[in-house]
Subunit: 654 residues, 2 copies
């Protein structure tokens, strides 16, 4: 049933076209205005800018020196120096000053000397006509078109307009977007108490801040209206008041419930017409587009979904293009590059998708690692390097087949970034921060797929390094066996990052009295597991095997999380009584910790990158005192050997 709904939804492109067509027919555009040049930066020209004066406005000196009539100097040469009378044949002049009448050339000050009488200058060089002169209109001739409409006025354009005397250019008026957050449970971000937030009694409202920033970056002006409760009458009033206060377009941000969006539709319908309700794009599906009429004036209205990622994408798909449409320019586009997905990216047929990814440029190929897809995971945007748009008729993207992605960062930022794939460790974000501080060109992008996943990515050449803590059950030694098994043909060095304490994360006071793995099979204990292929999972399974415990008896064994922090969060929330993780994660959330023992977390770095400047800088960072101090403060780490090269693998040895 759900699938049918998607197939009948309009695509974003169709929805946008329908909305824009109706807007063109029925809505008065914001129009244009004249602004003084001092306020014109980043505005968009609405008319061709025609020069009101020439630049230069006169024939002026391009050098400091003397102005002369060129003809009168033709006889000058080193053998026949020429004397010119100051004030009659030669005139001192500074750069930019107008030539005296009758003069058509300037001789540089370096090429003349003043005679002893002080009344004449002597030159050994003939001047050719118009030498060192900036001629009237050399740059700009009055009346010529300087800049086309639709051009954004940046610093350079300000210079051109000023030089041409265009002191009050005609620019598009900024569209005024009334932003109305809706929802009975939401409160302004800064007003919510931590306790109410933690209990979910209130929900913080921050979409308006995020969307206002997108709007102002796109040349609009936000009129932030009060939060309106989920009530059609209140919504009708809020929209009407916004319109009467001069809004060019109204943006309703849904509260947290689908219910409130229905109220939005009802309110829009009472004042006009809902043209689109639901669009075939994820995130962003519940977007709503319509027109309302208030006291005879018709204006567009948009309803954005309440989830932050949906809200952002819906605004980027519809509202920002409307602002551009009104400014007769194309919406700002992102640079596109070909990227290679590291994993298959399934997609729902009938829906366009916007998959957020992190990127790593490895050996000239730009690999993409997907971020979480949820509409509520706003960090999937703040962490993203790019967005891969997936077409509606596509059932998903294959791994290792290049696709187009839209860049959120510059190519040089991507090029300066090291991509680490593998096990998660809390120190990785710290390394990223320190790396950027040491050398702003560099950064560390991490993707967490577990230790084994990291080695496999390294084998496929999809990352610069991997983070791994894979215990060999037979030898009790970390990582070497796994490297021999999975990295044949890829010579690497094994660099020690840290010794860290693994153990059971438990609620403060350890209420369930967890002591070791044997407690996990108890009826009153719910466990939270890590995903297969993670080093922590390997450690658990090793311990279970050692004690002869069948995992089938553990409640929650199949409930998996991907990071230490998410395991700790599961314990904190009561979803589980315990999970295996590093001490730092327990410390971070003020939970208790039952140590199981130390483990070794290492970096696996292909030898072909050993001399890479970024890798060298990374090694410098993890060997630094500041790194050691900060990691020690996190708790449960031993960093005395950080940065030591433990072992070099030639790629052949089995």
């Amino acid at each position: 049933m759900e699938r049918n709904v998607y197939l009948t939804l309009q695509s974003p492109e169709e929805a946008r076209q329908l909305w824009f067509t109706r807007i063109s027919e029925r809505v008065q555009e914001p129009g244009s205005e004249s602004v003084p040049l001092e306020k014109a930066a980043h505005r968009v020209l609405s008319q061709p800018a025609e020069a009101l004066r020439s630049s230069p406005a006169f024939h002026g000196a391009a050098m400091d020196g003397i102005a002369v009539r060129a003809e009168s100097t033709f006889s000058a040469s080193p053998r026949t120096p020429l004397s010119l009378e100051i004030g009659r044949e030669a005139f001192w002049i500074n750069t930019g000053q107008p030539l005296p009448k009758g003069c058509d050339a300037v001789i540089m000050v370096e090429d003349v000397r003043v005679a002893e009488d002080g009344k004449t200058v002597i030159t050994e060089k003939a001047a050719f006509p118009w030498q060192h002169v900036r001629k009237l209109g050399e740059d700009i001739v009055a009346t010529e078109i300087l800049l086309a409409p639709g051009v954004e006025i940046g610093a350079y354009e300000l210079g051109a307009l000023a030089a041409a005397g265009v002191l009050t250019p005609s620019v598009f008026r900024k569209a005024k977007v009334a932003v109305i957050p809706t929802g009975s449970e939401i409160v302004p971000l800064a007003q919510a108490s931590e306790e109410d937030l933690a209990l979910g009694k209130v929900l913080p409202e921050f979409n308006s801040l995020v969307l206002s920033t997108l709007i102002s970056d796109a040349g609009g002006e936000t009129d932030l209206r009060p939060i309106t409760p989920d009530d059609p009458k209140a919504l009708v009033e809020a929209i009407s008041r916004a319109a009467l206060d001069g809004a060019d377009v109204v943006l309703l941000i849904a509260g947290s419930s689908a219910g409130s969006r229905d109220f939005s539709a009802e309110a829009i319908q009472r004042l006009g017409e809902v043209l689109v309700h639901g669009v075939a794009v994820m995130p962003g599906k519940p977007a709503m587009l319509g027109l309302v009429s208030v006291e005879g004036r018709t204006l567009p209205v948009m309803g954005a979904p309440g989830y932050p990622v949906s809200a952002i994408i819906a605004v980027e798909e519809f509202l920002l293009p409307l602002l551009a449409f009104w400014q007769k320019r194309r919406p700002k586009t992102r640079e596109r590059i070909d990227v290679v997905p590291c994993t298959p990216l399934p997609s729902r047929p009938g829906m366009e998708e916007r998959i957020r990814v992190r990127l790593g440029m490895v050996d000239e190929t730009c690999f993409a690692v997907p971020l979480p897809r949820g509409a509520g995971t706003v960090t999937s945007l703040s962490r993203a390097d790019a967005i891969i748009p997936v077409a509606r008729d596509c059932e998903g993207l294959d791994a290792n087949v290049p696709v187009r992605a839209e860049l959120l960062r510059s190519r040089s930022q991507i090029a300066g970034s090291l991509l680490i794939i593998g096990s998660h460790d809390n120190t990785l974000e710290l390394i990223d921060s320190l790396l950027r501080q040491v050398e702003p060109r560099f950064s560390l992008t991490s993707a967490h797929v577990g230790s084994l996943g990291g080695l496999l990515a390294l084998k496929r050449g999809q990352c610069h390094l991997a983070g791994s803590h894979l215990l060999d059950e037979a030898s009790g030694v970390y990582n070497r066996a796994a490297i021999r098994e999975h990295l044949k043909g890829v010579p690497v060095m094994l660099v020690h990052l840290a010794q860290r304490e693994q153990g059971f994360v438990v609620m403060p006071g350890n209420p369930k009295g967890i002591k070791d793995v044997s407690d996990l099979v108890r009826d009153d204990v719910t466990f939270i597991n890590r995903q297969r292929g993670s080093g922590t999972r390997v450690l658990l399974d090793y311990e279970l095997q050692r004690k002869g415990i069948a995992f089938g008896k553990i409640r929650g064994y199949r409930d998996e999380e991907y990071t230490h922090m998410n395991v700790a969060a599961a314990v904190l929330s009561g979803r589980a009584d315990t999970g295996l993780g590093v001490r730092a994660a327990a410390c971070a959330l003020h939970l208790d910790f039952v140590p199981l023992g130390p483990e070794e977390y290492d970096l696996v770095i292909p030898l072909r990158f050993a001399e890479d400047e970024r890798i060298q800088t990374l090694l410098e960072v993890i060997r630094s005192q500041v790194f050691r101090d900060k990691v020690t403060a996190m708790g449960g780490y031993d960093v005395s050997a950080s940065g030591e090269i433990l072992w070099t693998y030639d790629g052949k040895e089995a």
Copy 2:
């Protein structure tokens, strides 16, 4: 002598390094501050941003529906529908609300129905644990590092910070740049009377506006100080006051004369030290870098040259990188692409150059046409699509050899632009404006090298179309003979743009009584010519030949300009008494016009582009009524046949 000076100058890179090193040693950095999130957009994080709360902060519904304990629903199926008591086993819940205690799953509202008694809901679907639930910490776990220092806070980052409860992030303080325009002749832009400007009595000061915009775009804050006269004492006072008012760095903008720059050096020396005076970059050479100490506080000072392009490039080379340096981030970089110069680009050895170019993407190659190089031609920046940096040891760039260029526009803007090379006509800028209005993705980039130059560029595949008005002296027919001669192998269509009146541009009232070409040989008449290869030059030579007049007798025959407008400007300024040009140019500058006769200006379009969407839109524009009306208003044009395809050339016919 001059060349030696250049060879001893420091490169921009060396100069920057020297300045930054001294600044690191002796200057207190601007530091950081906490700002409320509502004011944090576009600020740069100075510390890693750590999450203060988890997001979600509780297990919440991801859908509207009923919250249940999953275990209690396992028996539900279409054949065995399950009843759940509302308020005990099932709880109505909206998206975003926290799950009631004991619940761990949500069944979507679409999958339940309310029993007739209204007290129970019935579902035919079993729920699995954590179905449709956003788990605590799913996006963000409290204490994790969300964003690294050096990251600019955009809309997405605001969302992540807000979700994580980071309501007052720590950001770098905006460096306060005191901008001091200097020069005795300059006046604030808006205060100059047109007459004084035209006579050169005063020079308008607009560098401060342009540079302030660059500074604020780079995350700095401008403190615009009054214009200071060319006087070392006044300069010392101005710098001191700016420092006492809290400047982090002082930017002196030279007046128009080299003299004032010397005063700058003197003033800096009195207060501290000039580290760099002159840099091996053009434009930008006279830049000055130093440190001053005022009441015990040391701060950097920079002197920018007075010419606008030099000032901009010097600020981009030194001041903006300093702002980035203080924010521990890399300066904003421009995208780089390979471009192919259409003509050789000579360069002065010993100097880096920054050559501004227009670009056209023709058949997958991006061709670059140079703009004027003068330090005063600010339109060389506002018109530029890219800048080609030329290395210091390079004697110039060859035509047709790819070089790296830094893009000023997006790749998609470049891709949407048609490049026309050839003769200049005043209607070309109008076509650009109209084209953008019809379709914001498209634009017309024109480069003026004369009709013949356009045909040769077309032959070399360097442009999309050429503008030409080449009269065949034998037949009296326009363009066809030249096309047959120069475009062998390039099938083209000849599209009529306009009939335009050519004639003599003269001062109002025609004081020299110019009637026809025979007047040009008069002793009291100075002529201004067009460049060789231009259609107007061909026309002149044709007329001279027809009348048997030797060009050697014409005063000014060798003085060439590149556009009709520059010819008109030369007449207006008294540099010449007359020149040959189109009536529109004379009209534009309120000059008189002595008609010589009509001529045909056509567009030459390769057939391989005939179906190109941009060409189709261009043809639509020149066939439109709005184009005809606007061109007619320019004077001297007959546009009744604009857009007509006059002739198709198969590339073979001789």
